[in-house]
């Protein structure tokens, strides 16, 4: 009797153990189910909106990351809106959405359009401070600009172009930007480059600078236009200066596809994995990069300062880097990280 009681006891204990196992498994599974109710998510006091110029670029990712980090310390949440392929919304639309959503601050890559200026004004009217990054619109009501001013950027490009000028020949230089990053500031950069080149080039060198702004308002235009340049080989410039990450990548691919490596020197912008590869292979001579981490951090600093003091510095200068074949290794690890 005792033995059988013991057996029954053990069997029951086994059943209980099995059932507890099932229960634990099931609870764990249910815990896996995230209803998106934000259970356990951190709450913040403020809500900033960051409207990026392009979708899913490494550059914007690092800006957003550093901004988020800085925002967390300031008890604020940063929402990133990137123009999406599937929606026809423009930056202006996102600005309107931000204003209607009554966010506590907007970080924006300005395009210098009148509509944008108006909307920035409207935002300011509703006590929503706007900070511009990368490209500025100094005539708007934005509280601050974080980036490199046109003078510094122009000088940086000029330095790279100077090294690529041909001896005793006219060098064709084409500045490529896309319409979204083409602003008054871009023009200033262009003029700065032109001015600097004229000043710094040797007497026996001549430079023919032209610029083109790619209308990338519809999809894939950047790539198509870049290919057009290469297809019409007659008009192929000697030096291509790309003022945008996507343009740089397109140019790199076109150089390879049309077998123009060595014929065209390229000065790129920013460093993605592709660009770093190109630099290390010598296909792209060099690239100008801003310190994106600083851009993110400073933009939040500007908003915070404004909300606490009512004013802030109207210009935050960030560091710039020139990436060449020599120092490409350090960026590669940085990019990988």
């Amino acid at each position: 009797m005792k033995k059988s009681t013991l057996t029954v006891f053990f069997v029951l204990a086994g059943c209980m153990l099995f059932l507890s196992g099932i229960w634990i498994y099931f609870q764990k599974t249910l815990d896996q189910v995230d209803l998106g109710e934000g259970e356990g998510a951190a709450g913040y006091e403020k809500h900033y909106l960051m409207i990026s110029g392009e979708e899913n670029t490494l550059m914007w990712d690092s800006i957003y990351e550093s901004a988020s980090e800085a925002a967390r310390d300031a008890d604020a949440y940063v929402e990133l809106i990137a123009p999406q392929r599937e929606s026809t919304y423009t930056k202006a639309d996102y600005l309107r959405i931000g204003i209607a959503s009554k966010v506590d601050g907007i970080i924006l890559e300005a395009d210098g359009s009148a509509e944008e200026q108006e909307l920035i004004q409207e935002a300011m009217d509703q006590n929503i401070p706007v900070v511009t990054v990368l490209t500025d619109d100094s005539s708007s009501a934005r509280i601050s600009f974080v980036g490199l001013n046109s003078y510094q950027l122009g000088n940086a490009y000029t330095e790279q172009i100077l090294g690529l000028l041909k001896e005793h020949e006219t060098t064709q230089v084409l500045l490529l930007s896309n319409s979204q990053s083409k602003t008054q500031e871009t023009n200033l950069v262009y003029y700065q480059i032109k001015k600097e080149l004229e000043e710094k080039k040797q007497g026996y060198q001549s430079v023919n600078i032209s610029e083109y702004s790619i209308d990338n308002s519809s999809d894939f235009d950047t790539e198509e236009f870049v290919r057009d340049i290469f297809v019409n080989g007659n008009t192929l410039p000697d030096v291509l200066v790309c003022m945008d990450e996507v343009v740089t990548e397109c140019v790199y691919q076109a150089l390879i596809d049309y077998n123009q490596v060595g014929n065209v020197d390229v000065v790129g912008f920013y460093y993605s994995d592709v660009i770093l590869d190109a630099i290390s292979k010598g296909i792209i001579s060099s690239a100008i990069a801003l310190d994106m981490e600083e851009i993110g951090r400073y933009s939040i600093n500007a908003l915070e300062e404004y909300s606490s003091l009512g004013h802030t510095s109207s210009y935050y200068s960030v560091g710039q880097n020139v990436i060449t074949r020599k120092n490409v290794g350090t960026y590669r690890t940085g990019a990988n990280q």
Partner: protein
């Protein structure tokens, strides 16, 4: 006391135990099933919760559409019904908005909700402005306001769409997780149900076996007892149930049977012993008779011849020969007649006298025989043929080699309850070893002795024992070889004498 016993038996009765086992197993099964159903219910609830968020978003979208529709209708017609509807839908929409998050949380979904809520608030302000402008007939204002409102409506719709998509995406993933976990649960539940069923069956089997085992033991034991084997172990009373009661009673019954049988056996053994003794006695008598079988034919013929001889002697006036033959005849007659029964003491003494007379004639009066018998004891009954063999022994083994000097003395006295008989001689004597051998019956007369009547001392001893159911009635004493022998017999005769 009786009530207590009844309640005890109720408590331990097979019915109660069986019912308890069944009920426990049922409870066990129900609990397990309840547990499983509870898990399934939780899962289903969770699935419900997963998709309820999409439903809520759809409600919000519908409400927004209705609101926008009424605004348009009002602007279009300025109808009071449309205005009424507008206020109602606005109220509805506001209520739905209350369900949306308005905090800054690190969650894309929640932030979308917040944006929708805030935009909706802006939108509602705008619609109010539009409606007010329309009511105030401010055409320019309501038109521009309507445009702004429409734009907001579009933004909100796109955000709702985005939210719905996002929700649906996470919900689909959740649904997959839940679905797979439900599948696992279904399999586990099957396993659990089988295990539970097996455990239930095992428990019931164990309980039933524990109840039936004593019953089987009882039946086996009863069968063995029925087959006649009473030597079975006492059955243990495992439980105080009906079987326990029956087992206890069975044990008691078995005990009683055993005691009864033991008593019976004892009495039968006693009877058998008695019978055996009787048989032994008879055997000894038969043996004695057998010893005389040959002599029996001779005596009959002999004592007839002797009688004829005696008469012849009388006719021829040979008186001494006649007396001799007469004594011979008497002696043999006594032998033949008295072997079966006991005899009177005087008959025994007479037989001895006759024997001595015959021997004296034979040995020419050499035997010195002396007898000392108390007066008035001749009527005691003693086993027959006791004295003559002793005297014969004294003659044969005691004084046979010294007839001239040999003396035989027989004395019979009554000492209290007993009759003391002594037969002594002054002849060859015996060593203790010889005495022991005779007493143990080893030195039996082989019957071929020329002078013997054929009855050994051993036979006398045996018959005395059988007759009196007592040992040690005959004692042989001797001081050694050449120092004579005396045989003492003590016979308890009180009762016989009185009878």
């Amino acid at each position: 006391m009786r009530e207590q016993k009844e309640s005890l038996s109720m408590q331990n009765s097979i019915q109660t135990r069986l019912s308890a086992a069944m009920v426990l197993v049922m409870i066990f099964v129900v609990c397990i099933n309840f547990f499983i159903f509870e898990q399934i219910h939780m899962g289903v609830d969770r699935i419900d919760a997963v998709f309820s968020s999409n439903t809520a978003i759809n409600d919000l979208s519908e409400s927004l559409n209705k609101l926008e529709g009424t605004v348009y209708e009002y602007l279009n017609t300025k109808g009071s019904k449309a205005l009424e509807n507008y206020y109602r839908y606005e109220q509805d929409y506001r209520q739905l908005l209350d369900g949306l998050n308005d905090r800054n949380v690190d969650s894309e979904v929640k932030m979308l909700e917040k944006n929708i809520r805030k935009m909706s608030e802006s939108y509602l302000d705008q619609t109010n402005e539009t409606v007010q402008a329309k009511r105030g007939r401010n055409i320019e204002k309501y038109k521009s306001s309507y445009e702004k409102e429409l734009q907001l409506y579009e933004y909100i719709n796109s955000y709702i769409y985005k939210l719905n998509n996002l929700r649906f995406r996470t919900n689909s993933a959740n649904y997959q997780i839940l679905l797979s976990s439900m599948d696992v649960l279904y399999r586990l539940a099957l396993v659990v149900i089988f295990i539970v069923a097996a455990v239930g069956v095992v428990i019931i089997l164990l309980v039933v076996r524990s109840m039936i085992r004593p019953l089987t033991q009882l039946s086996n034991t009863a069968h063995e007892v029925a087959m006649g084997n009473l030597d079975v172990p006492v059955l243990p009373v495992v439980c105080e149930d009906e079987v326990g009661v029956v087992t206890r009673s069975f044990n008691q019954m078995l005990d009683s049977i055993r005691i009864h049988i033991a008593q019976q056996r004892e009495s039968m053994e006693k009877q058998a012993q008695m019978k055996e003794r009787e048989l032994l006695m008879e055997t000894h008598l038969k043996e004695a008779q057998l010893k005389y079988l040959q002599a029996q034919i001779n005596p009959h013929f002999l004592f007839n011849c002797l009688n004829a001889g005696a008469q012849l002697a009388m006719l021829e006036d040979a008186e001494r020969t006649g007396i001799f033959l007469e004594k011979m005849a008497d002696f043999f007659r006594y032998n033949v007649r008295k072997m079966e029964d006991d005899a009177m003491l005087f008959e025994e003494v007479e037989a001895v006298d006759n024997y001595i007379y015959i021997l004296n004639v034979r040995f020419a009066g050499d035997i010195h025989y002396e007898k000392d018998v108390d007066e008035g004891i001749g009527d005691f009954r003693i086993p027959s043929m006791i004295l003559q063999p002793l005297v014969e022994n004294a003659v044969q083994h005691g004084i046979h080699d010294c007839m001239e000097t040999g003396k035989i003395k027989m004395s019979i006295h009554k000492a209290g309850e007993d009759l003391e008989i002594t037969v002594s001689d002054n002849g060859a004597g015996m060593t203790p070893e010889m005495i022991q051998s005779v007493m143990a019956g080893r030195a039996r007369n082989n019957g071929e002795d020329r002078y013997s009547t054929g009855i050994a001392v051993g036979n006398v001893i045996d018959r005395l024992e059988l007759y009196y159911k007592q040992k040690g009635l005959l004692i042989i004493e001797s001081d050694g070889l050449g120092k004579g022998t005396s045989v003492h017999i003590t016979l308890p005769v009180e009762n016989e004498g009185e009878e």
